[in-house]
Symmetry: C2
Subunit: 225 residues, 2 copies
DNA sequence: CGCACAGTCAACGCTAATGTGGAAAAATGG
DNA sequence: CCATTTTTCCACATTAGCGTTGACTGTGCG
């Protein structure tokens, strides 16, 4: 108990410690990178320590477990997303504008919070299988985000800007799918391309992929002979 | 070497053995279920053995490792999907019809191959990180599938049925996103609802979510005061 | 000067999972 | 009913990663 790393960690966490927090944050950052590269389960604390050119045991001075690192990573990203969504929902604007704003925010988020967003999305399924309080909270927040989208869709249906022949719930899932799946293929770098993705998704979701050529010039299947 | 379970397994695999293959298939089936429930990495051979009311060691008579179970699961599903896509691509029909067919096939596939499809999609990221031959092949097949979709999109663009102001590559990813993300929320059961999902996705991707009310009745953002 | 404290690290015990050896049990069939 | 093959399972060795101990190092402060 004299040395007790857990105790010293707790003390350091509470007693401010400017450089301590910085270092801890750095560790979380590197952990996110390693999780992104190897996947959470495959990554070991050794990998993270090695990347930081330090010893695995040293990490325990800053963080209690691999899970705790994940908590930190997810927290940093999830809170902002839900807050952004709440804010979009509350703001003035048409449902169409709100959807645009939400899509843009999410896609840019993949860039701004690299690689945290990727880790979060990839591990969501795993988190959903856990049953501890933290996992429940993450799922609840994620659900809240989904609800907000559904809400906007409903508002738009009510005011006539969205079609009413499709189940909103499924449409919302389609939208999530588009957005969240980016974690499987998008390689961040240029914010420009993120913007391009956001615009494409917006155009697709709102207006669809079928051609709407000026009447008379249509070549599609339904032209009259 | 006299007993050598590995050798006995290999022999049994080669020398036909009707009931052997049945039993093996049953094990794969149960493994897929367990992987679906716990996630591949978290699942243990013990879990699978327990579900089969047998001993973990017994499994080794049928299968060499947990990875091998995954191979089997993925193979059974991936081959069919690629074949179906190739067939759709080759068949007669407009690009619009081909997209419809592909979406429907994929979504129904989640039902027909439950839970194999779910395991495949969920584990794709993990597989992509491996560098062995098998992983490379899976990725190649998955890529092939993607290429086919892009090809159809390009055909449709060429004949004027699809719009040409969006990057096909991103549109294709959006479509994959919609489809593949279902593994995170869809609970199979009624094929009816799978069909509903397929229809919704098709409608969304082709025609978009914005209302196309008869002109004059629009309530959207751009109405003149 | 010395000592207290932040930070580091070699070393250990523990747990959980894997894959195998080898024999027991069940099925098959002469 | 015995002999042979197929199938099962107890028991073991091995491995990998986790979390902790307890002591070491350096730095700053009185």
């Amino acid at each position: 108990m004299a040395s007790g790393i857990a105790g010293r960690r707790k003390a350091a966490l509470e007693d401010g410690g400017e450089s301590y927090r910085t270092r801890r944050q750095e560790i979380v950052r590197v952990a996110a990178k390693v999780f992104r590269e190897k996947g959470f389960e495959a990554a070991t604390l050794n990998d993270i320590a090695a990347r930081l050119k330090t010893d695995r045991a040293s990490l325990y001075y800053y963080v209690g477990s691999k899970e705790e690192l994940l908590h930190e990573i997810v927290r940093q990203v999830l809170e902002e997303n839900v807050a952004a969504a709440e804010s979009v929902l509350a703001q003035a604007g048409t449902p169409v504008e709100k959807i645009e704003a939400l899509i843009e925010h999410m896609i840019l988020s993949f860039d701004r919070h690299y690689p945290h967003m990727f880790v979060y999305v990839e591990d969501l399924a795993r988190i959903a299988r856990q049953k501890n309080d933290w996992a429940r909270e993450v799922i609840a927040k994620t659900r809240r985000f989904e609800e907000i989208v559904v809400q906007i869709l409903e508002d738009g249906r009510a005011d006539g800007s969205f079609r009413s022949d499709l189940p909103n719930h499924i449409s919302a899932m389609a939208l999530f799918g588009m957005i969240n799946w980016t974690h499987r293929w998008y390689k961040p770098g240029s914010t420009g391309s993120a913007r391009e993705i956001a615009e494409t998704f917006t155009a697709l979701f709102l207006d669809g992929y079928r051609n709407r050529a000026p009447a008379g010039k249509r070549t599609g299947s339904r032209t009259t002979p």
